[in-house]
Amino acid sequence: METLWFCLVAVMVAMYVLLDGFDLGAGAIHFFVAKTNEERRQVIATIGPVWDGNEVWLLAAGGVLYFAFPLLYASGFSGFYLPLMMVLWLLILRGSSIEFRNHIQSPVWIPFWDFLFSASSLLLAVFFGAALGNVVRGVPLDESSYFFEPLWTNFRLGDHTGILDWYTVLVGVTALVVLMMHGALWVQLKTGGAVRERSARLAGWAWWGVLVLTGLLTMVTFRVQPQVVANFKTWPAGYVLPALAIAGLAGVQFELRRPSERNAFLASCAYLLGMLTSVVFGVYPMVLPARNPLFSLTVTNAKAGAYGLKIGLIWWVIGMILATGYFIYVYRTFAGKVATDTDASAD
């Protein structure tokens, strides 16, 4: 049962990364693909009706994590106190900028929110990547099942790690480049004209960055977290997950050349899904590895009571069917390219 919940949380996190990933990416490339006010309005319009729903996946995944693995929620969230709070601040800034930008047509108002939108998106991508890096690398948990990480110590992988060290920074940068590619493919899919062309070009460049960083990160990760290697050795069927990532990445390049905007975006989704599931598969059965393996939190020692997990499964399935229905409906309603002067732009 706890393994099932481990997978379900992983699925929800993956959904969050796929969906909010493209709107974070769109934010990160905002200034690169859109030069005029009208073009920037277009970029925002591609995510306007959906970003809020995408972000709900983060909240929903957090909630499920909370009731399925209370100890993990308590330990992880208090241990990552500072970076999480900064993530919250960035989410506040980002949400405000998307919502408020179009309210006043003024040459000081709009660039201000554009800048905040782009900067917060960019930093969020790095922060989320660094957070993932921390989870893979392991944190200084002790016998109390708690830890507290400062933002940085000496940037090395010792026993007193900080949030930022060379490994987590590397993951953060990779996450940024990956989401820039993902976001560019989304913007390409949803826009026309100059914005579309610039996005396509940017996605092409980012692709090479993703390729190099993915290769590098994979090699490094095998050394940083030995569990990953062990898991792939124990269950070779797991190789299907990195294979999905590789196929996805190859697919992005292939579809960019064909070109098929829709398939390129979907291939990028497959890449992200493959990467995330590989990581999750690699650390299982740990949910939060410790630097000292004795104190790692696992699916078994962090799980909630059996009744709650069982009853949760029932409403989770019902809720997910409903949520999937809404998403399909909303994305279909707003399908197609964003026009430049529809009611899709607020105010």
Binding site: P49, P70, A74, F77, G95, S96, F100, D343
Partner: protein, 454 residues
């Protein structure tokens, strides 16, 4: 003030108090917008649609602030209250997760459609989307109240072998009698915020002589719904809540009422300042035997005062609790008077000319915010010194590894950021009000658009 416990408490109190300024209007307006959309659908009168569109803009700004200030709330259970989360996460995580999955997905999906999709959805479709946004936001309210109610009056749980609290009955948690009573009381408070704001904007337009057709509708809808909510707020919902507190948290009742000595035929304090050292209410203005009657429906009933409880079970900020409660009840009473009077004037067709009443309505807009805040402070301060009533003390719930310095750092960060957000909210909402609904031309004639999508 200055220990890690105090800062963590202040951190949550500050962020949640600020956050709740927005959802109360969101939930109140959600209902009023559905009412406006329904009137538009029934009568075919286009001005109701335009009214709904105007309020949707205000709703959108308000909703966005509710979302961005709401995300930190869920996170803070883990970041600042780790011991509590570890112990009780298996129970309250259920309601919090359900909020995300059942209401936020619904709300966010259909709000996008409601705000951006009127042309694509058609009239009926747009009405449905407003209804779904309403259901989503009210469901979210229920799940949050149920979470709080479990902390006030735990039900449906059992203690697991490892000392953590596990869920034992799903329906026991969801249909906690405390949650049902608190929800009804809380939502009426939110509806009143919506009504007062809507009536205030209408009064503002009437007083400044513009958008008159809209203005009359706003005032009419605001005061008619408002008077119903104001009365129900006091009785039965307020009354039921009071009885529950008397039954399950008697020490809280004594502190709220400023009743230091147990007595038969206890008086109800209307005014007065509690002096904890001397164990008395200074300058009291009291109604004899009223507290006994309100609580037990018997003038001579015995009510336990603070003296019948050990001091370590007293709420730790009795003064603030006492004032919060009295502010809430006092304002609630004023609301009945203001709304009641407005409705009488409306009924006699004098309201729109009664400038003094319109002034009063316009200036009352901040009051329900204060009353709702005071109400929540009564509930949460009244729960002290418990985090989970009777089971876990607040002093045992915070994150052991997060130092006071780190909590100060983030508290100050939130304070700075929220100050800016508050100014932005005022600025943008004022702009929308100033800008007003679409011009009144072509109104009066039935909507030329056919019932199908345009």
């Amino acid at each position: 003030m200055g220990s890690a416990l105090d800062i963590h408490r202040l951190h949550f109190a500050f962020t949640v108090t600020f956050h709740y300024l927005f959802p109360q209007l969101t939930m109140g307006l959600a209902l009023l917008i559905v009412i406006l959309k329904s009137m538009a659908l029934r009568s075919g009168d286009e001005h109701y649609n335009r009214s709904a569109r105007f309020w949707a803009k205000i709703f959108g700004i308000n909703f966005a602030l509710g979302v961005v200030t709401g995300i930190p709330m869920e996170f803070q259970f883990g970041t600042n209250w780790a011991e509590f989360s570890k112990t009780a996460g298996g129970v309250i995580g259920q309601t919090l997760a359900m909020e995300g999955i059942f209401s936020f997905f619904l709300e966010s999906s259909f709000l996008g459609l409601f705000l951006y999709g009127e042309k694509r959805l058609g009239r009926v479709g747009h009405w449905v989307s407003s209804l779904l946004v309403f259901i989503g936001s009210w469901l979210s309210g229920y799940l949050i109240v149920a979470t709080d109610a479990w902390m006030q009056h735990p039900t449906g749980y059992r203690i697991l072998p490892n000392g953590e609290i596990g869920l034992a009955s799903f329906w026991g948690l969801l249909l906690n009698p405390w949650a049902l009573a608190q929800y009804a009381h809380n939502m009426l408070g939110a509806v009143q915020t919506g009504c007062f704001v809507m009536a205030a904007v209408g009064s503002f337009y009437l007083l400044t002589k513009r958008n008159l057709i809209y203005a009359r509708s706003f005032v009419r809808v605001g005061v008619v719904v408002g008077v119903i909510a104001a009365v129900l707020q006091l009785t039965p919902t307020g009354d039921i809540q009071g009885k529950m507190v008397a039954q399950h948290q008697p020490v809280t009742l004594a502190a709220m009422e400023g009743l230091f000595q147990s007595q038969d035929g206890a008086p109800l304090a209307i005014l007065g300042q509690p002096d904890i050292q001397k164990r008395q209410l200074d300058n009291p203005l009291q109604v004899p035997s009223m507290l006994s009657f309100l609580t037990y429906r018997k003038w001579s009933a015995h009510v336990r005062g603070l003296d019948s409880f050990p001091e370590n079970e007293w709420p730790d900020t009795i003064e603030l609790l006492y004032y919060s409660y009295h502010v809430m009840v006092g304002l609630g009473t004023i609301f009945i008077a203001v709304m009641g009077l407005s409705v009488i004037l409306l009924w006699r067709k004098k309201l729109f000319e009664a400038r003094w009443m319109l002034w009063l309505l316009m200036l009352s807009a901040p009051l329900p915010y204060i009353a709702n805040t005071a109400g929540w402070m009564t509930a949460e301060l009244g729960r002290q010194p418990w985090l989970i009533y009777g089971m876990m003390r607040t002093a045992h719930g915070f994150s052991p590894r997060v130092a006071a310095g780190n909590a100060w750092f983030t508290l100050l960060g939130f304070m700075g950021m929220y100050t800016v957000l508050a100014m932005l909210w005022l600025f943008l909402i004022y702009r929308e009000i100033e800008h007003g609904p679409e011009p009144e031309e072509n109104l009066g004639a039935p909507s030329p658009a056919p019932l199908t999508a345009d």
